[in-house]
């Protein structure tokens, strides 16, 4: 068995231990030796300003001067802090910041832009305290100035992410939730929003069943962009859905939508094509009505593609619009193509439009299935404008397949 370790012995006052502790403490504090008050002030990780109650700058630390590019003699005794702000920031300073400071004695986390010596704008966050003398009279204002460049950048990024998410969610409501399928017909559709995905455009399409062998296909474009256009897009989609159930003629659905938009507070209008497809006695009939929208094409090989229907008024701005219906019997191999002007008004780097002619040429390029046609056309139009669409593109193709399909 090992003997227990000897207990520490003490002989008089424990000088050696006290010395050791002091040594450790000294070693710990050694790096702080340079922390004289002046350095603490000048090299602080934020700008410091001392201003008189009237705003005149009395003192500025080196960090503030480095951040803003001013030299001390530009500021001290010469400039008031408010004069370093942008004009809009000055109003904010005078109407919010200064009164808050007067009233509360402090102002916290105020975001403003300081105009630097070279004219550059530095986003900053300010914390200020107003000091008083014993009689309660204001003496000086002390302000800590934090460089908020990163924070501002981060805010911008976050807001872009939010905008993208909002745009995506809204755009999902512009097209049917699941890929539409009309029994006995071959249907394909694509939708490509404009730009980088943060903008909300006004193109939409819809496919829905009204009754057995009775379907409606709608494509449209609400003028403008943004959330307000999106509201009108939803309104247009659901109004046409409701109207098509009650009224057989596509022109009647357009007239109803026109009436609804006239009485809606929006000034926005839209263009729209409504196509009704009915299967009777073994044949499909397409009845089309257009409201200011590009007319659909009918491809009946080997004939060149022809437009069907007549143009009609824009939907929404007029008290007495004109819409008409055109019926076409469809045969095996026929394809109807509906599109928005994002196709024909696509521009290449020379500023040329894709245009009707290129579209017609594409449509006669050979017999294509509906999916091949919409995918191929979207690819071509995207390539034409170097993959940077400035407008939304919506495309719907309906083909009558060979009977053996």
């Amino acid at each position: 068995m090992r003997p227990p370790p000897p207990l520490p012995t003490s002989s008089g006052p424990d000088v050696s231990d006290e010395d050791g502790a002091r040594e450790v403490l000294d070693g710990f504090l050694a790096p702080l030796a340079g922390d004289d008050p002046e350095q603490l002030y000048d090299r602080a990780p934020c700008g410091y300003l001392t201003t008189m109650p009237d705003g005149l700058i009395a003192k500025a630390n080196q960090t503030f001067l480095t951040l803003t590019g001013y030299v001390e003699s530009d500021l001290v005794g010469r400039r008031r802090f408010v004069e370093l702000l942008t004009p809009g920031g000055r109003i904010y300073h005078e109407t919010h910041y200064a009164p808050m400071l007067e009233m509360h004695g402090t102002a916290r986390e105020i975001a403003l832009d300081v105009v630097c010596a070279d004219g550059r704008r530095l986003p900053v966050l300010l914390n200020s305290v107003l000091e008083h003398d014993i009689s309660g009279m204001p003496t000086v204002v002390r302000t800590a100035v934090f460089d908020a460049t990163q924070r501002t950048k981060q805010r911008a990024e976050e807001s872009e992410v939010r905008a993208r998410k909002l745009a995506h969610t809204l755009q999902q409501s512009f097209i049917p939730p699941t890929h539409p399928d009309i029994p006995g017909l071959e249907l394909a559709a694509v939708y490509r929003p404009a730009g980088d995905g943060t903008e909300i455009g006004g193109d939409f399409y819809d496919v829905f069943e009204i009754g057995p062998e009775d379907w409606c296909v709608v494509i449209g474009d609400v003028c403008g962009k943004g959330v307000e256009a999106a509201v009108v897009t939803s309104l247009a989609r659901y109004t046409v859905r409701a109207a098509a159930v009650r009224q057989t003629e596509p022109s009647a659905a357009l007239a109803t939508l026109n009436e609804v938009l006239l009485h809606h507070e929006t000034d926005r209008f839209c263009t729209l094509t409504v196509l009704r497809l009915r299967h009777e006695a073994g044949d499909w009939t397409a009845t089309v009505s257009c409201g200011g929208h590009p007319l659909p094409f009918l491809i009946r090989p080997p004939a060149p593609a022809v437009t069907i229907g007549s143009p009609g008024s824009l939907v929404g701005p007029l008290d007495a619009p004109r819409f008409s219906d055109t019926a076409v019997e469809l045969g095996t191999g026929d394809v109807i193509v509906m599109y928005t002007d994002g196709v024909t008004e696509a521009r290449n780097h020379m500023g040329e439009f894709y245009g009707d002619e290129r579209l017609r040429e594409f449509l006669v390029a050979g017999r294509l299935s509906a999916p091949t046609l919409v995918d191929g056309l979207l690819d071509e139009v995207m390539q034409f404008q170097s993959q940077q669409p400035r407008d939304d593109i919506a495309l719907v193709a309906i083909a009558v397949p060979d009977s053996e399909h």
Partner: protein, 265 residues
């Protein structure tokens, strides 16, 4: 809701005294007057209120259509005067409320005995040879500042809703709401304030008017104060030895003295 609740009206001073109505400017509320208004309670009936959208006003009464111009705010001033049956009114308006007072006095001159305009500007945006001090893009910058600084507004609003004049211990909490406004209301009020042009309205006022102008004011410079005084039929201009747009806070003694000199018989 009556005018008292809608505008958070606070009445003090001598019930039989001549009414003095104090109207605060853009960005703040009636607490703006706390160093000045009490000094007139000995002789006058002192009426403080918050514009709809500010301080303890009824936010539900905010109607973007009504407040799409300063005219809506001027109508409010007339409504308060009418409901409280105020006559021979001394109107003290700071900043944008100076022009609101000009509009009210132009519409119902018989209601007003005197106007005191502190830091008035009939137009903030430069226009030809007229120097208001700002460009239109500056106002966009202001709106950006408002947007970056609205955080914390909703939590700060809670105390004001429970605020009560009979419970002075809530006084400090009340001022917590000071300078905080619903961001959308602040946005519209800023637009309406800083894009308005009331130069033509000055000539319609014959009420004796005191223009109080701080020597250093980046929002309403001295030249603008001089313009206002010159355009009014019956006015005097007093330059205050004060810095900033709120002499009622930064130089309350001088401000109160100048007002007293004008209103006390």
């Amino acid at each position: 809701m009556g005018v008292v609740g809608r505008f958070n009206v606070m009445v003090s001073g001598r019930p039989d005294g001549q009414p003095m109505v104090f109207a605060h400017g853009f960005g703040c509320d009636q607490h703006m007057w706390r160093y000045v208004a009490p000094r007139f309670e000995d002789e006058f009936r002192v009426i403080l209120f918050d514009h709809v959208g500010a301080g303890g006003s009824d936010l539900a009464a905010y109607d973007p259509g009504r407040y799409n111009s300063l005219g809506g705010y001027a109508e409010d001033v007339l409504t308060i005067c009418c409901e409280l049956d105020l006559h021979d009114v001394i109107f003290v308006g700071h900043s944008v409320s100076a022009m609101i007072g000009v509009l009210a006095a132009g519409a119902e001159p018989e209601r007003f005995a005197k106007l005191i305009l502190i830091g008035p500007s009939p137009r903030y945006i430069d226009d030809g040879s007229y120097v208001g001090g700002f460009g239109e893009s500056d106002i966009e910058e202001l709106l950006d500042s408002l947007e970056s600084n609205y955080l914390g507004w909703s939590s700060a609003m809670a105390p004001v809703i429970m605020g009560n004049a009979e419970r002075p211990q809530l006084g400090e909490e009340l001022t917590e709401s000071f300078c905080r406004t619903d961001p959308q209301i602040a946005h519209q009020f800023a637009r309406v304030t800083f894009l308005s042009d009331n130069r033509a309205d000055l000539a319609k006022v014959a009420t004796p008017t005191l223009v109080l102008q701080a020597r250093q004011d980046v929002i309403a410079p001295v030249a603008v104060g001089e313009y206002v005084a010159a355009a009014l039929a019956d006015s005097r201009l007093v330059l205050l030895d004060a810095t900033g747009h709120c002499p009622n806070l930064s130089a309350p003694d001088a401000t109160a003295a100048a007002i007293a000199n004008f209103v006390r018989s």
